[in-house]
């Protein structure tokens, strides 16, 4: 049984100029211990599809899916309070902007203990010990002292570690990382990705990495989904995606990477491709 299973997910937003389809017929499966990367350019619906799966979209969004199950339980039929018991505990999410996603008014210690207070019945002392343990596991030096710090006192990389620690607080079965390293320097990116992969390996959890960076995909994923304008273009394991891409869009994307350039100019095939051609070339 898959950990998360989505079939034919569609998300529509009502706009002044009629309904806008942000996600159109996305299907995916994630197993335990598997790393899935969803890659696409901005506006490809990669974040929205995951937010929809977690039920985090505002009421203006219309979400429909044939199947949307987590660990065998139907997420659509579930009541809001039941879903809130799962989110943050069994499914956790890391967002792109680490500094913006922490509350600037509270210490990081308060914010990580808050998760434990809501989802576990640990006492005050036990919560604090667990927070220290979590900070240690994500590599934050002097955890006892750091718990009392506010987000603005920490660097971007440290804040992202706090976010990861908070996400891991209840040993989630599935971790969704939405552009976890986009705002960070390459050297810090490497540390964070290594940390995510190490923790994923230790806990055997499912991991979904949402990214636009082919480099991040190459370094982390087992399986890859390529999305464009809300639709799935290609789904393949990481090696075959990079060695023999099947759809025209994936080929064009990989050709546009500066490291694959041969001459003085980069091939800009996506510029000439129409949406219809891209969708026609989709390989499910």
């Amino acid at each position: 049984m898959s950990l998360l299973e989505i079939k034919n997910l569609t998300v529509e937003f009502q706009t002044a100029s009629g309904p806008f389809r942000a996600v159109d017929g996305v299907s995916l499966k994630v197993d335990e211990g598997e790393v899935l990367a969803i890659v696409g350019e901005s506006g490809s619906g990669k974040s929205v599809s995951m937010l929809a799966a977690m039920g985090l979209l505002p009421w203006t969004a219309k979400v429909t899916a044939d199947v949307l199950t987590f660990n065998g339980r139907d997420m659509q039929a579930m009541s809001d309070s039941d879903r809130r018991k799962i989110i943050g505990k069994d499914i956790a999410m890391i967002f792109q902007e680490p500094i913006a996603s922490l509350n600037p008014c509270f210490t990081v210690g308060f914010q990580i203990e808050e998760v434990l207070r809501i989802h576990t019945d640990l006492g005050r002392k036990a919560r604090r010990d667990r927070a220290i343990e979590l900070f240690q596991s994500v590599g934050i030096p002097n955890p006892e002292e750091r718990l009392g710090h506010f987000p603005h006192q920490m660097s971007g990389g440290q804040c992202q570690r706090v976010m990861i620690a908070t996400a891991l607080a209840c040993n989630p079965k599935l971790l969704i990382a939405d552009e976890p390293t986009t705002a960070l320097d390459v050297t810090i990116q490497k540390q964070i990705l290594d940390l995510l992969m190490k923790l994923q390996d230790e806990h055997g959890m499912g991991l979904i990495i949402i990214t636009h960076d082919m480099g991040v995909v190459a370094e982390t994923a087992d399986r890859v989904i390529v999305q464009y304008k809300g639709r799935q273009i290609e789904q393949a394991d990481v090696l075959s995606l990079f060695s023999e891409p099947k759809s025209v869009y994936t080929k064009a994307l990989l050709a546009a990477l500066p490291e694959n350039a041969t001459g003085g100019r980069l091939p800009t095939i996506t510029e000439k491709l129409t949406d219809a051609e891209i969708f026609a070339g989709a390989v499910r």
Binding site: E41, D185, T187, G215, L239
Partner: protein, 276 residues
């Protein structure tokens, strides 16, 4: 031939005033860097956030005065702290910023954005300003009909084209590009990089290209300077730096850059299988 830009032992300090509880402090943002760029060439400056690469850009574009050292543009010594900046010098160096969503005034039409440098720095009459802006729009791959539109009507890549067009309106000798493609999608990034290369060929432009993305740098640069905590730890031709990095920080940087070649992926997948 005199290089377009030459910097000798360039330094920049920022003074942070103290308060009742905090003593005053001086931050040495750039601790003496030297470099030069010949006409038609590209120098890339690489480093992580806070290493002083944007401070170098501010000094080269004559936004910030230099604390000590010497900077020559077209063989002429420039020091904005001691002498006022003439519009002639101002038009020699122009800059393109990282985020095209922030660098274009949302209340101004594209036409006004493009002609503004001419209004400020030259005495070109209005109808010629308009003609030049129209011609520049075509040069950067936009159309004449875009002249009367507002920035919010454009995509990120198009906005970056507008920002590049604005920088070129004064026919500069040197263009400083501060992370010009890091806010753009992969396919758009390729288009903008190609545009920059075309413009460089056409006008013999000189670029100072600031970036943290080594794959982009390797593609576009002739020379590379790696900065770390305000110092230039590595400086040489592209092939020198990439083939044979000397400083340990440069090596760390190269090791941290994700690799997308198939062999590296195969090795990683197999390593993962063995563990599992």
């Amino acid at each position: 031939m005199t290089p377009v830009l030459e910097a000798k032992n360039l330094k920049r300090d920022y003074h942070i005033p103290g308060s009742l509880l905090k003593p005053a402090k001086t931050v040495h943002a750039v601790k003496g860097v030297s470099f030069k760029v010949e006409q038609g060439k590209t120098l890339a400056i690489v480093g992580e956030s806070g290493c002083g690469k944007s401070t170098v850009a501010r000094m080269v574009t004559m936004i910030d005065p230099i604390t000590s050292g010497e900077m020559l543009i077209d063989g002429r010594k420039v020091d904005i702290a001691s002498e006022p900046l003439t519009s002639e010098m101002r038009s020699k160096v122009q800059i393109v910023f990282q985020n095209p969503y922030g660098s274009l005034n949302p209340r101004k039409k594209i036409g006004d954005i493009l002609t503004e440098p001419l209004v400020i720095n030259t005495k070109v009459p209005a109808d010629e300003r308009r003609d030049r802006a129209m011609a520049m729009l075509k040069k950067v791959g936009l159309e004449e009909k875009h002249y009367g539109r507002y920035p919010h009507m454009f995509s990120g890549g198009q906005r970056q084209r507008v920002a590049i067009a604005r920088a070129l309106m004064l026919n500069p000798r040197l263009l400083v590009l501060d992370e010009p493609v890091s806010a753009l999608d992969l396919s758009v990034q390729a288009q903008v990089l190609n545009l920059l290369a075309d413009l460089q060929d056409e006008f013999q432009l000189t670029y100072v290209f600031i970036s943290h993305d080594l794959s982009v740098v390797r593609h576009i640069a002739n020379d590379v300077m790696v900065m770390y905590f305000g110092e230039a730890v590595e400086y040489g031709s592209r092939d020198q730096v990439f083939e044979d990095p000397q400083h340990s920080y440069t090596k760390t940087l190269f090791a941290a850059t994700p690799r997308v070649d198939v062999d590296a992926i195969r090795a990683r997948v197999e390593r993962r299988k063995r563990v599992a």
